[in-house]
């Protein structure tokens, strides 16, 4: 019997580890009853774990394999974007002023992202396999959009006082690492042709493993119960008034 090559061994490990972790995360979310709080992230976890399990039983070179893989990938990207928006919505209280801020951030961010995507599409370089190049372009664009959304959400998170131990931070950090690494890999492969397809696949798998480990760290460890039963009285309104007063004095409309 031929010994397994090291590449095949690494590929199998990189495939099995996140699969096991995601089943564990699914079980933990069910046990902790947080599925209702994070339904989209839960759906994403279940989808990716299910897809990988199904693909294990399907012949690699068959048409079914390709269909399941690519449709699952497209759905995973959409759910990934949905999970980021879900994190933003969870983090920001249901206060009219704050929802207005979030709405305007999405509007202006969406316009900026659309303009950037147009730039990406217009700068698309053709390679030897046009259909594959288009797939890379679409995936690159989706990851670019995801990375931009993550930047916005992370900036908002730092303003909204979420502790580093909060599971929302874990969800966003996991997606951040994965989207950034895959985007870098796709750029190096599709536009710069610095890496081969095999290297790209390994890089993506490694990034996904890291994301799964981060999510597992947040969902599987014991959660600290910080009890805050009342809020203190503060001078926040007074400070706000003082600062507003100065702004009205120092700034004039022309």
């Amino acid at each position: 019997m031929r010994p397994m090559s090291s590449l095949r061994f690494v590929t199998i490990v990189l495939w099995v580890v996140p699969l096991a972790l995601q089943y564990a995360i699914t079980a933990a979310m069910l046990r902790r009853r947080v599925v209702r709080i994070f339904p989209i992230f839960f759906s994403y976890t279940v989808l990716v774990a299910s897809r990988e399990t199904v693909l294990f039983f399907v012949r690699y070179s068959s048409k079914s394999y390709a269909l399941i893989y690519w449709w699952g990938d497209a759905l995973a990207v959409l759910l990934g974007i949905g999970a980021i928006m879900e994190a933003a919505r969870q983090m920001i209280p249901a206060h009219p002023f704050l929802r207005r801020i979030l709405g305007s951030v999405w509007i202006f961010g969406g316009i900026a992202a659309a303009m950037s995507l147009l730039l990406l599409f217009s700068a698309h370089a053709s390679g030897p396999h046009p259909p594959l190049e288009w797939v890379f372009l679409l995936e690159r664009s989706a990851r670019f959009l995801q990375a931009c959304m993550l930047i916005v959400v992370i900036v908002l998170m730092s303003r909204f006082g979420l502790a580093g131990s909060h599971c929302l931070v874990g969800i966003v950090v996991g997606f951040g690492v994965y989207a950034a690494a895959e985007l870098a890999g796709l750029e190096l492969r599709s536009h710069l042709h610095f890496v081969t397809d095999v290297t790209l696949v390994l890089l993506n798998s490694a990034a996904y493993n890291l994301a799964a480990i981060i999510w597992a760290f947040y969902f599987l460890r014991p959660w600290r119960q910080d009890t805050v039963n009342h809020l203190p009285d503060t001078d926040l309104a007074q400070w706000n008034e003082a600062v507003t007063d100065r702004i009205n004095q120092w700034y004039r409309r022309f």
Binding site: H166, L236, V243, R246, F254
Partner: protein, 172 residues
């Protein structure tokens, strides 16, 4: 090439921000007692006095130009320090309110939401105040006003929301 730079810039920025989020070292607030122990005592009247235009005019009349500039810059540095302490307090209160939101208490959650909104409003305004103080620090005798670009943006946003409200009513 532009698209490559754009993508690599986005990748770098998302990685840096992700790392910063993960390894943030702000004062950790886990309870109301932590807030009491770590909060900064701020007297708003002191901030008002440091930034009061009448006091500034009096000082300009009474002091020689060079001494006035030196004294005014000290007042501005103190005012900036006040703003920094306000921001830190607002950050700690936001963290405390986020913890309060995890309790299944509607009244407490509402109070927490209001506190977060107020703290966020304050933190949105602080850069404008800082900008003016930095200009005044550079030119202590500056008395002119700056253009209110943020109020135009606020009006634009309010009009967009009004339009959204009208269109929803029309659809209903």
């Amino acid at each position: 090439m532009v698209s490559t730079f754009l993508i690599l810039a986005v990748v770098l920025l998302s990685l840096v921000l992700t790392g910063a989020l993960f390894w943030r070292r702000s004062p950790e607030i886990r309870s109301a007692a932590d807030w009491v122990a770590k909060k900064h005592e701020i007297d708003v009247r002191a901030f008002d006095a440091l930034t009061d235009l009448n006091d500034e005019r009096r000082l300009r009349r009474c002091l020689p130009a060079r001494r006035f500039r030196h004294f005014q810059r000290r007042r501005i540095r103190l005012a900036l320090r006040f703003l920094q302490l306000m921001e830190e307090n607002a950050g700690m209160l936001t963290s405390l309110a986020q913890l309060a939101r995890t309790q299944r208490d509607t009244v407490l959650t509402q109070k927490a939401d209001d506190l977060i909104a107020l703290a966020f409003q304050l933190r949105l305004k602080l850069p404008l105040v800082r900008l003016y103080l930095y200009v005044k620090w550079l030119v202590p005798s500056w008395t002119a006003t700056l253009p209110a670009f943020e109020s135009s943006y606020r009006e634009l946003l309010n009009r967009a929301i009004q339009l959204q409200g009208y269109s929803q009513q029309a659809l209903a």
